[in-house]
Subunit: 358 residues, 2 copies
DNA sequence: CATCTCAAGGAAAACGATTGCCTAGAAGCT
DNA sequence: AGCTTCTAGGCAATCGTTTTCCTTGAGATG
């Protein structure tokens, strides 16, 4: 029994034993810069300078300190450092509605841009609750984050999260109602335009639009842009805009509506991939073939939907990761004293797939 | 011009002006406990005691200090506090593979359990890169987090993230290869058992199993449990286990295989919702009706899949949020000096829907 | 009246790093 | 040789809290 458990403990660290022993196995009491300094035979101030590449030190001394630090597995205490320097190399990210499909790419993009600068991200999920939001805001301020990124699913403008905050704030995906705040949003009108132009380019002229709820900002923006793009070609939508929900069920239902009204349609631009997928199923079960009879474009470029759909769905990609990255970069420049004001809209990208392949 | 910009500044804070002015608009220089103490006419030590409910103070004094803090919008500097107390009220969460569909519920659950204790979460996405992982580990240690949660998509055991770390670690969803580490995982065998028992309960006897890649731990565990559960009833799978990918495409393909081999099947338990959905489509386009001819159970209970599927898909829910919560609770108790060792498997839950409604 | 005992609050030492200022040699110059 | 000028590195203040003693004065007790 004891033999067995002994055996089991060993292989776990095999292969990385050396490095781990050097770097991370200094169990329990953390090692401070004072110990490093003592081992290197210098004062703590000198040790600090050596490790941070500051001050005037002989290269030899610098190296001796670094070696000592290495040997002891020294990692500077971030709290002590930030107390002194006022910087925490940390940013907060508050998602106003739940963390989900949209927040993740934003987070990844932001992490990318920040990680290069060695900054970490505090993720806070306010779950659409203003109380939670303010609570998290206080927490972040107490932790003296260097900056805050605010995100949310709705692309509609929201009330600023606070006024006169001591740290810079950038809004990503969602935008602030205060035009002086810095916001990075997708240019949804651009996305809709690209979708319609693509359909026009493959020769479709009788184009309908099915989308989400009319009270949803994204739905109306995309619809307006779609109509405008058609108008620029002297066309009108092949059917009245169909507003509903962001679901497959609505897409299927919408297919029924389109077919029953006898509208002559050779393409549908959908407000989301889910709607498009539902619509595809609805049309197919009524005998329509995609893309031969009806071409289809979705919105979001959500992998499981565009790949799950048959045929694979052409879609508009808002480049959420790029938005996250861009927001983080703007935040960084604000942190470094060069604040940027105003809203930036980033273009979308059309990803053509089988559902519009002629 | 200046008039216009003056005007613009006002409406932004309308509606929340009072509260915000009190709490968050103290722009620029942060207020320290020393200022609070001065305003209340006490020493900083006393102020600290007043705000933290420690020491022996007249209630009146306590209140005076609290009022002063309120008035100045004081928020304690977390760095200074943690430097003194050694606690940061922060935990790190490292996802070994990318943050995704599985990590989010885990994170939400963990945040739930931790948020109650006023702790915040550092989220780190190691993206399947051991270098990044070790880098993040160092960062977290430098930030002196109180504990670390490690998650990942594979439910297979992984090498411990470090040995002899100065902070407690809990593995969530994924488990550590070292049996002494604390891991919280779903009892996937339990889930598979429930799925099969449900199919048996509705009277099906010729049950097949279609799942993901054979080298994937989850796939084999679920398959084994399914076979065992059938065996307990004196049954065998209605067809050889079909291993493939975790995709709808594979589900559709598997439908073809099942049909072409002429296997006599009245139910299929699928290793994932995506496979189940693909299978549903495949069977339906071959004229089979669900659940009349073939009943279907998926795995994951992923909302967009179970709802998008027609008919709605019965599925096994691993309660990821519960796993996240449970992991966080175990981490908290370890932080409080009561470490728990070993692996904990949490039961799954079957969510019946139309695909098995008789 | 002299002590003793508390209650209430102050003073100051941590915590661990950074950084500006200072000093002791060594080197360069006349 | 005597002066200045660097160079390398030490000293100590500092960041904002918390916490451990102390001190003070008031009331209780003998």
């Amino acid at each position: 029994m004891s033999r067995a458990s002994y055996r089991r403990t060993t292989p776990a660290v095999v292969g990385c034993q050396e490095t781990q022993e050097e770097t991370l196995s200094t169990s329990e009491r953390a090692v401070t810069i004072t110990q490093v300094a003592a081992l290197a035979g210098v004062s703590t101030g000198t040790a600090s300078k050596a490790l941070n590449g500051r001050g005037a030190l002989r290269p030899e001394t610098r190296q001796r300190v670094q070696q000592a630090a290495e040997q002891l597995g020294f990692v500077a205490n971030a709290a002590a450092r930030s107390l002194q320097t006022g910087r925490t190399y940390t940013v907060g990210m508050i998602t106003t509605d739940s963390i989900g499909r949209f927040s993740i790419p934003l987070l990844i993009g932001a992490e990318d841009a920040l990680g290069a600068g060695q900054m970490s991200v505090f993720l806070c999920d306010a779950r659409d609750d203003p109380i939670r939001e303010q609570y998290y805001l206080r927490t972040l301020l107490s932790r003296k984050v260097d900056g805050i990124i605010v995100t949310g699913r709705r692309t509609q403008a929201r009330a600023p999260i606070g006024v006169g905050l001591p740290v810079p704030v950038v809004y990503a995906f969602i935008s602030s109602a205060d035009p002086r705040d810095c916001s990075v949003v997708p240019d949804e009108a651009d996305g809709a335009r690209r979708a319609v132009q693509h359909l026009l380019a493959i020769g479709r002229r009788r184009i309908a639009h099915v989308t989400g709820p009319e009270h949803h900002h994204s739905a109306t923006v995309r619809a307006t842009a779609a109509v405008d793009t058609l108008a620029a070609e002297g066309l009108r939508p092949a059917a009245p805009i169909l507003y509903g929900e962001w679901s497959e069920a609505w897409g299927r239902q919408a297919a029924g509506i389109l077919l029953s009204t006898g509208a002559d349609v050779d393409a549908v631009f959908c407000g989301s991939d889910q709607i498009a997928r539902g619509l595809a199923e609805g049309l197919q079960s009524a005998g329509r073939e995609i893309p031969r009879d009806v071409a289809l474009v979705g919105f979001d470029n959500w992998d499981v939907m565009v790949d799950g759909c048959r045929p694979a769905l052409t879609s508009v990609d808002m480049d959420l990761e790029g938005i996250g990255r861009s927001a983080a970069e703007l935040l960084l420049s604000a942190i470094n004293g060069e604040p940027v004001q105003g809203k930036r809209a980033r273009p979308c990208r059309l990803v053509p797939r089988a559902s519009t392949a002629v």
